[in-house]
Amino acid sequence: MAEMLTQISALDDMIVPGRYGRSLPQGPGAALTLVHPCEVAVVIAAKGKARALSAAIKRDFGVDLPGMGGSATARSISLHGTAPEQWLAVAPGAAAGSLAAKLEKKLGTMAMVTDQSHGRTVLRLEGPRARDVLAKGTAVDLRPTAFKPGMCAATQIGHVGVLIACTGPDSFELSVLRSFAEGFWQGVCELALEWGYEVR
């Protein structure tokens, strides 16, 4: 019966695709997309197991486990270093419950894996003005020379904790706690008005 149930996102009735804000000749400055469903898990190394964990990730996913502030993407899974020996694993579109289960199986007692697929809301923000939009909210240095693809930052926008991962020259993945998602969405939309934005 669970197969019949749909996982409802925190922004269930908030997403109305279209163009918003100022209309500039060069087109919208940013595009916002809700990544849903999206599997998310917190991975925390067990005491003294960080090295073994790193080797296991390399073996099973083919990437180097990033340090704090770094991101690595292996096929459909991204790992973001959010704190010392702590990562946020993100897998857009994966089957419900599959990410935490897979990680738990592969990592065993090397790490604690906690499913956060329902606890986080993941957004994609991209476009020529994406950095300017974020710079209205966070003190992180977002200049292209300072915040490059493969980097992430745990910070705050509008007093709401957010993990910003740079996924391309002008694209970012934002993950926030589900309960804050609605206000966060409204806030980011407001910050993008100046250059116009598109909701996809």
């Binding site: 604690m112 710079a135 706690l177 206000g183």
Partner: protein
Amino acid sequence: MTSFRFDTGGLIDRSSQIDFSFDGKMLQGHGGDTLASALLANGQLLMGRSFKYHRPRSVITAGAAEPNALMEIGEGGRLEPNTRATMQEIYDGLVAKSQNRWPTLDRDFGAINSIASSFFVAGFYYKTFMWPKKFWEAIYEPIIRRAAGLGHLSHEDDPDRYEKAYAHCDVLVVGSGPTGLMAALSAARSGASVILADEHAACGGSLLREREEIAGQPGHEWAAETLAELAAMTNVTIMARTTVIGAYDQGVFGALERVQKHVAVPDHDVPVEKLWRIMAKACVMATGAEERPIVFGGNDRPGVMTASAMRAYANQYAVAAGRSACVFTASDSGYRTARDMKAHGLHVEAIIDTRSDAPAIETDGVPVITGAVVTNVDGGKHGMKAIEIDRGSGHETIPCQSLAMSGGWSPVVHLACHQGARPSWDEDEFCFMPPQNNPAIIAAGSANAIWSLGKCLADGAARGEQAAKLAGFKTRKTAVPKAKDDTSHTSAPMWWVKQSTGKPFVDYQNDVTARDLPLAAREGYDHIELAKRYTTSGMATDQGKLGNVNAIGILADATGKDMHEIGTTTFRPFYTPVSFGALGGQHVDEHFAPVRMSPLHNWAADLGAEFVETGLWYRSSWFPREGDDWLAAMTREVLNTRAHVGICDVSTLGKIDIKGSDATEFINRLYSNAFAKLPVGKARYGLMLREDGFVGDDGTTSRLSENHYFMTTTTGHAAETMRDIEFAHQALWPDLDVQYASVTDQWAQMAIAGPKARDVLSKIVDTDLTNDAFGFLAARQVKVLGSIPAMLFRISFSGELAYELAVPAGYGEAVANAIIHAGEPYGIGPYGLEALSAMRIEKGFVTHNEINGRVTAGDVGMGRMLSKKKDYIGRMMSERDGLNDPEREQLVGVKPVNPANRFRAGSHLLNPGDKASLKTDQGYVSSVAYSPMLDSWVGLAMLKHGRDRHGQKVMLWDGLRNVHMEAEVCDPVFFDPAQEKAHG
């Protein structure tokens, strides 16, 4: 009025006509005009009235330091008082009003203050309005405020949007005059990222205002070319209309960008102001210098202004205050003004130079009177007629319509002083020099007392290189264009003209005269900080940008000290006023604080819930049916739950997933009660103490498997508890193998309570829920609706047979609806926070109303829970004598003798017959609810010796509402004390 616009010249766009109004009069200006220059062009020399004496005033400056020409700009919610006309660009439809006048600028009633001015000397507030004390708030203060006042507010909501933003750069250059432009150029050429900020609408600083040439072309043309070169560089950001308002720790600068304060109807998608925080590795402070007025009789008369302002109005805006001019100067700046005004066709009558040894400087034929002073100005609201001068051989009069004054220059040192350093007096340059405590804030050009254009260009280039190097870049020498290098000479300034016959103003905005400062010194307020407060010199919106140095000089004179001994007052951010709109930014209305929504929010809303803010959360509070008020709804919800079954959203509880081989030991050290032997599949109530031994938080923790726990905290303390856990692990016991993560947002959690709870849940949970299989405090991972992973806990906060069910948040609504559906035959209904609260009070369960940070476990009747067999956080401190004093207040129940009498939490308890006092206080009521089961208002309270006083009478005293009520002390458990229902 004598002011007018020249037929030609100026950097204004004469092809554009801009209509605006001043005090209801329709006027015209051109693109490039400020409100001040446009008013002068329209013959409107009179721009305001002064604060105390309501003297007619016009502009003194052409920039940010303007003390006089303050206006109310805009209408309705957009009205902004105290706007400096010298900084405000005009736009079509601009509505400006003068301030400090009643009923009109021309006929002002308050001007009578001027006649009574001998009563309004320094400190008059303190002297006059001392007695009677209560008159201050009721009578004096409102009258003074109405009479003085610096503009008005409309009290309407500002319709515009404001934002905050961050920027990062290697080199921040403040000021885009010749120094700033060269600094930006040399820093940018090294590859450093540069932000060039200027407070004016047009960049170029003095190059727009002077007639000087650079590399053979007019200065403003060179500025335009240089700006174009900078704009074309990808590593340069030019921010015009942006005032750098403060320098803070670690290279953080505040800046206010006026994005849309120069347009009639702002684009709502764009903020009108942006408050920037700029992080810079180095800063070139090319902020220039402020020309000092001279303090002499009538130096505030419309038509009197600084020499550089007169040049700026003539050269940049093609306006002048009058057709003829005199110059009163202690520096060479006055001579330049005389030449410029002559070049614009004005009749320049004379240069009056305070220096008897004045150097021979080109005057273009204007006569120079050396060793003389201006003692008074004949003029008023319609302009000037003449000046009175004294050359040591009696007074004489020179007719003129305007007067330029120059008392020397003061570097604009604010940014170098904002972190606490003070400037130091330089006896050679006669100015306060910027401190050099912070090597990353580099004063350049005239902000560092370098006066000639040629030297400023060279210094700018050098300082830009220095800043880029500091930021880690390799630099090459930047070629410096040629400009005139005339030496500038100032002789010892004259702080005030003692022979003045008119009022000599030191601080225009506060109407402080040269006579007020010696008075302050005589009355004991001779320290500069005291003199400032006593005389108000240097207060209000301009913070003494023009007057402070003169005030210091006069005080030095009066006390026989030197300038250095007197020193300056403290320089604090902001450099110029910042609107509250900008400080609030986007965080207004519903975005004032972040909003947290439960995953069952929409579910509850669909059922008609009313919500209440608890911290950041919006929680469903009660579910009204037609005609219900909260009390009726709550009563119905409680009765239905106790008789049948209810469902309540408890998703907001803090939830923490804890794993690791040392998880058991970790939890056992966090909680004060025993946890080491909690069996798998069981939940336990846990009490956490703070380090100081008082109760910190409570909740249940369940052991889901050998090394896997699920902890809950209260809603209000979830973040604090998580923080405490992080601290305990990271700092106290890093050796433990334990991992934990907040899962508050992952799970939707609902309480299903009531005699029929088991029947309802059995329909959707795949587990045997009989008492034998799933007894009181059972906790297990289960599946609901076939395959949804869930956690089920047999815990009760209502005293009923109850369960809490957690499902992944995205399935919350579906599961809650399934429970409602399954419960329909049993009469299920939702209940909210009000019913939850009433039921827990009926059961005597504590929340943070009781465990408010000042109570011990013993106080709330849980003293016996504290383990004697282990150590845990707070144990040592909980054993202190004071925390175990038998005199402490203890948790009890209270019932009013008349059950219909409502009383409130916060009421105090007194012994019958006692008057309320700290001495007689017996305790206080912490929680109150109407109990549907007892049909009475009931409360929990903290009472001295409370546990021994069950059955006794006390008085409830509510001083706020003036309520006195007789009540009976009882056991805090009002309902089902044997706990039969929860175990059923």
